[in-house]
Structures are given as C-alpha cells and as structure tokens.
C-alpha cells in the first residue's frame, strides 16, 4: 500500500472533471468539509504535518469510542477488584479478592465448565457444518433453499433458549420423542443430572450456531479452485479421500478463522445459561460469564466480580494475542 499523497500538487481542479453536471455542487461541499477551519483553502495545500496526521485523524473517533468502552472499564475493573464493595461502601482489601477467587471452587468450576461445554459444542458444530457444507456446496437445489439452513441462527438467542427450555424441561417434548423411539421410559429430569443439563446447553448452542459455520464453509468451498478437485476425481479418488486430502487442506485458513470467531462467542455463553439452567444442578452448567453476573448482580459482590473479570480479561488478551492474531493473519492470505 503506497502513500496516496503524491498528487496533492496537481493543478487541475476536481470540479472541472466531466463526471456529470450534478457533481458540480457536491465536491465544493466536500472541500468545505475537508478543511472547515480554513475557508477557501483547498485540501491539496495542507501542511505535511496534517498530511501525516490524516490517517490518525480518520481513526481517532472510533479509537476514542473503543478505548472508552474497553480501557476505561478495564481500569475500573482493576481498581474495583482491590476493594470489598458492599452497596456504597468500598473497603480496601488489596489482593484479597484475588486470593479468595483462586481458592474459590466455584470459580474453577465455572472456568472448567466453560472450557468443557465450549469444546464439546464447538467440535460438534464444526464437524456437522463441515459435513453439511461438503454435501451442499455444489448442489443447485440446496443453494436455492440455503436460507432454511440459516434459520436457527436468525432467531433471537433468548427465544432459542426458551424453545429448548420448553422442549427439554417444561414441555417434556424431547423425553416424549425419545420415549416413542423406545430409548427411555418416562420423563428424564434434564436439570437433575450434571451431564444431561450440560447436554441441553450443548444442543441449544449446536442447533443455533451450526448454520454460522455452515454458511462460511460453503462459501469457502465454492470459492476454491474446482479444477484441482476435478483432477483428483478423474484420477479415481473417492469423495471422502478428495474431501480429506484436497478440499479440507485448501479451506484450512477459513476453518481457522470461523472456528476462532465461534470459539470466542462460545466462551462468553450467557443467555442460554440464564434462561435454561441458571447454573444448576449444583453449578455444573455455570459458565464464566454467568459466574461474574451472579457474583455481581445477584450477590452484589462487585469487587469480587471485578476480580473475576480481570482474570478473564487476562485470559482473553493472552488468547487474542496468540490464537486469534495468527488466525486472522492466515485468513488474509
């Protein structure tokens, strides 16, 4: 990307360009906006300093906004995490919250649950989406009906949580269907067992978000060079072999980006936990986000919640700097 400033000195004015009569007004406004504080000065006469600062000026509003909602809360969380906060009184405790959290069984359980539920859910939806995408991408019939496959993703997450809450728990639909298939007898208490409760969260997440990966994988498969695949087919390779040895390696960067994005969202899982399980039974489905929410907004341990936030932030930064940075660089190639 070269510096686009080489032509500031060209004398021909923009508005004499025969691009159409209606443009005669517009560039004049554009110039006025470009240098509102120096009326009558054309932008091409701007100082070298301004020219150098120009990209930063373009970025400044967005950066200020983002810093306000990331840096300020980050610093606030760090500060607040050093206090025991009870309603309006803040009592200094130093690293008290941190040492308490690191010994808090519930904190480690929440971390473990997030990793466990996230990992299972993510691998399931990746596998399903890959298989579906491979079957779907060349099929004109499916292409026309692709929107059907996207529908779960377009439902509000809170509504999806209610769908599955009703299907699993309140409406007993899943139990009934499994009973009709002869797999179980009577009703399963989905919130009564650790793994059944986790399973409901996994099913809800896989159902809603497999479409996300699916549509990305389809696009990746459609974008790749068909001739390589055709050559492999003419050589007599079977379709699973083609998929495994040709298509999959070619779409690897895309898979990495898509799975990384999905992974980020899964680790922040909150809505389904809030609506469906509230962490029960015994905290087996409590995720990190729900832990922070419960400590802060149910038990009003704001200092404690902030300390947990800071720890999660550190984890996020580490993951962002390693996995995600690499993923997006490989995705750009």
């Amino acid at each position: 990307m070269s510096r686009p400033d080489c032509s500031w000195a060209t004398a021909k004015p923009y508005r004499s360009d025969p691009m159409g009569p209606d443009l005669s007004q517009v560039p004049a406004q554009g110039v006025a906006q470009a240098a509102p504080d120096r009326r009558g000065t054309l932008p091409r006469r701007r100082s070298p300093l301004l020219r150098k600062a120009f990209p930063y000026l373009l970025l400044a509003p967005a950066m200020v906004y983002l810093l306000a909602i990331t840096l300020y809360p980050g610093l606030f969380a760090i500060y607040q995490s050093l206090f025991v906060v009870k309603f309006l009184t803040w009592t200094w405790t130093g690293f008290g919250n941190y040492s308490a959290i690191l010994q808090d069984r519930e904190f480690w359980a929440a971390l473990g649950n997030t990793a466990l539920i996230g990992a299972i859910s993510l691998s399931l939806q990746t596998a399903i989406a890959l298989a579906l995408a491979y079957f779907a991408y060349r099929d004109p019939l499916i292409r026309g009906w692709r929107i059907v496959f996207l529908m779960p993703m377009l439902f509000m997450p809170s509504a999806v949580a209610f769908i599955w809450k009703l299907a699993f728990n309140d409406g007993r639909v899943i139990s009934d269907l499994l009973g009709r298939l002869g797999l179980i007898e009577g009703n399963l208490d989905w919130l009564g067992s650790i793994w059944l409760a986790r399973l409901t969260l996994i099913v809800a997440d896989v159902w809603q978000w497999t479409p996300f990966l699916f549509i990305i994988f389809v696009a990746a498969l459609q974008g790749q060079d068909q001739e390589i695949e055709e050559a492999a087919r003419l050589d007599g390779a079977s379709w699973p072999a083609i998929f495994w040895n040709v298509s999959l390696p070619m779409m690897r960067p895309v898979i990495v980006v898509a799975v990384t994005l999905r992974g980020i969202d899964i680790t922040t899982m909150f809505t389904n936990v809030y609506v469906m399980t509230q962490g029960s039974p015994g905290g087996a489905t409590e995720t990190m986000s729900y832990f922070i929410y419960r400590q802060g907004f149910r038990m009003f341990n704001f200092g404690y919640a902030s300390a947990a936030s800071v720890l999660m932030l550190i984890l996020t930064v580490v993951i962002a700097q390693t996995v995600v940075k690499r993923a997006f660089h490989s995705g750009k190639q």
Binding site: S7, K12, L42, R44, I69, F149, L166, A258, G296, G331
Partner: protein, 280 residues
C-alpha cells in the same frame, strides 16, 4: 469408470438424506414453536406434549392487552438503528484509514479494533453498569444505543475495510490526478464503491444488536428501555409462570424482519460474518 459412477450415485442419495435430515432439524423446532404461539395456554405445558393443538389467538390477545409490545418494539428500533448509524459514522473513516493509508502502527491499531470483539460482555459488565449509573443513563434507550454501537464497531470497521481493500486503486488515482481531496475521494468514490460492504456491515450489526442480551438485561429495568430480546426473559415472572405461547409469538415478530434483512444480503453473509476474512 464404473466405480466412479457408483460412488457418485451413492453420494447423491447420502447427500439428500443428510441435508434433508438437517433441514428438518432446523425447521421442526421452529414450526413447533410457531404452533406454541397459536395454541391456548392450557395446551402448552401438559403431562404429555400435544403436537396437534387447537388453534387459538390467546397469546395475541394477551400481547395486545397486557404487554406494551409496541413500546418494546419502538425501544428496539431506536436503540438498534441509532447504534448502526453511530457505527457507520465512526467506522467508515477508520476503515478508510486502515485500508488506504500506510502509517506507523496500522497493524496494531487494526488488531486492537478487532480484539475488542473478543472481549466477553461479562468482563465489562460491572464497570459499564457503574459508568452508566454515574452518567444517569441506566434504564434508558440511549445507553443501549451506545453499548450496541460499541459492541459492533469492530465488526463494522473490519467488514468495511475488507470491501475497501477490493476497490481498484486506479479509480482513486484518477480522481486524485484531477485534484480531489482525500475526503472527497472517500465520499465520492470509496463509499459508493463499497456500498454492498457497508450495507452488509449494517445488517449484521443490526442483527447482533437486536440479539444482545446481557447488557440489555443489566441496563434496562423497566419498560422504558426493555427491548424485544430482554422483554422475552422478563415476561416470565409473576404468578403465571412462563407464558410460552406469548413468548413464541413475540419471537416470531422479531424473527420476520431479521429474515428479510438476511435474505437481502445473503450473498455477502459469509464474508460479513467472518469480518471480511472469507470472500464469499
């Protein structure tokens, strides 16, 4: 050659079995939930689930009489539309700088913007809550607008940047030779040329904003600021328990506009969802 034909034939049957099966997995829960929205309350939670309910507009009447659904819809629309406008105003110049200029720290700034997308809402939930409390913005649509804009800003910037990178440099150079300034070029050439990207970014940001749950839950506490997403979860208390048929109906009211928006940008969806990393 016979073997080739055989494997292809098999894969075709398998293909329609797998895809048809998954289409049912996608559709059946939605259709069933739609049926929940149009059945009487007595047929929602029963000892044995009822698959062929009697048709009823109970939920609709309840919505019309008890729930200020129009208010929630209005809150959603104001907060979401406002946030998308804020995002576009901030993101278009930022994306222009990232896509078209060479300056020190460009990669780092770009990655910093991207990385704000990775922050779990729960991490900033407590500080944001206190921030809005200090500003006196709790329980207001304006707070929701600001927070939705913040959540989606990185996404919008990266999507638009990706589309700007695709615009041929010559287009811009020609205008520059004619003496056009940078902002003129942005407005007259870059923005029109990457309009599909801008629309895609706006639609995806709108969807994420409509879906946002945690912040809305914390900031909104009365119907002054309830949006569709959180109103659902708050329609569950009281002696009536969870009123599923009304929830189902509300979720379909929110579903239809999203469906229409997505159909409009279908071709760009995969590129938008990956923040431009995948060209669909």
């Amino acid at each position: 050659m016979a073997t080739t034909r055989k494997t292809r034939g098999e894969s075709l049957l398998l293909r329609y079995l797998v895809l048809g099966g998954w289409a049912l997995v996608c559709l059946l829960p939605i259709l069933w939930f739609l049926s929940v929205g149009f059945r009487p309350r007595t047929e929602v939670i029963t000892p044995k689930p009822i698959y062929w309910p009697t048709f009823s507009l109970d939920a609709w009447h309840l919505l019309m009489s008890d729930w200020p659904i129009a208010l929630y819809l209005r809150n959603s629309v104001i907060a979401v539309a406002g946030s998308v406008i804020i995002d576009l105003v901030l993101a278009i110049p930022a994306a222009f700088a990232l896509a078209r200029y060479d300056f020190r720290g460009r990669e780092d700034i770009g990655f910093y913007i991207l990385s704000t997308r990775m922050m779990a809402p729960a991490i900033v939930a407590v500080p944001i809550f206190f921030l809005f409390k200090t500003l006196g913005l709790l329980d207001s649509v304006w707070a929701l607008m600001l927070i939705y804009a913040a959540i989606n800003l990185s996404l919008v910037t990266w999507i638009i940047r990706s589309y700007m990178l695709d615009i041929p440099k010559e287009l811009e150079d020609a205008a520059r030779t004619d003496g056009a300034g940078d902002l003129t070029i942005l407005r007259e050439i870059i923005v029109p040329a990457c309009l599909p990207g801008i629309i895609t970014a706006a639609v995806i940001a709108a969807i994420f904003a409509i879906n946002e749950f945690l912040f809305t839950l914390l900031i909104a506490s009365t119907s002054d600021a309830y949006t569709m997403s959180v109103a659902l979860a708050n329609f569950t208390g009281g002696s009536d328990g969870i009123i599923y048929n009304a929830i189902a109906l509300v979720s379909f009211i929110a579903f239809v506009p999203i469906l229409i928006l997505v159909i409009l940008i279908q071709k760009h969806l995969s590129r938008g969802l990956t923040m431009g990393a995948v060209k669909g």
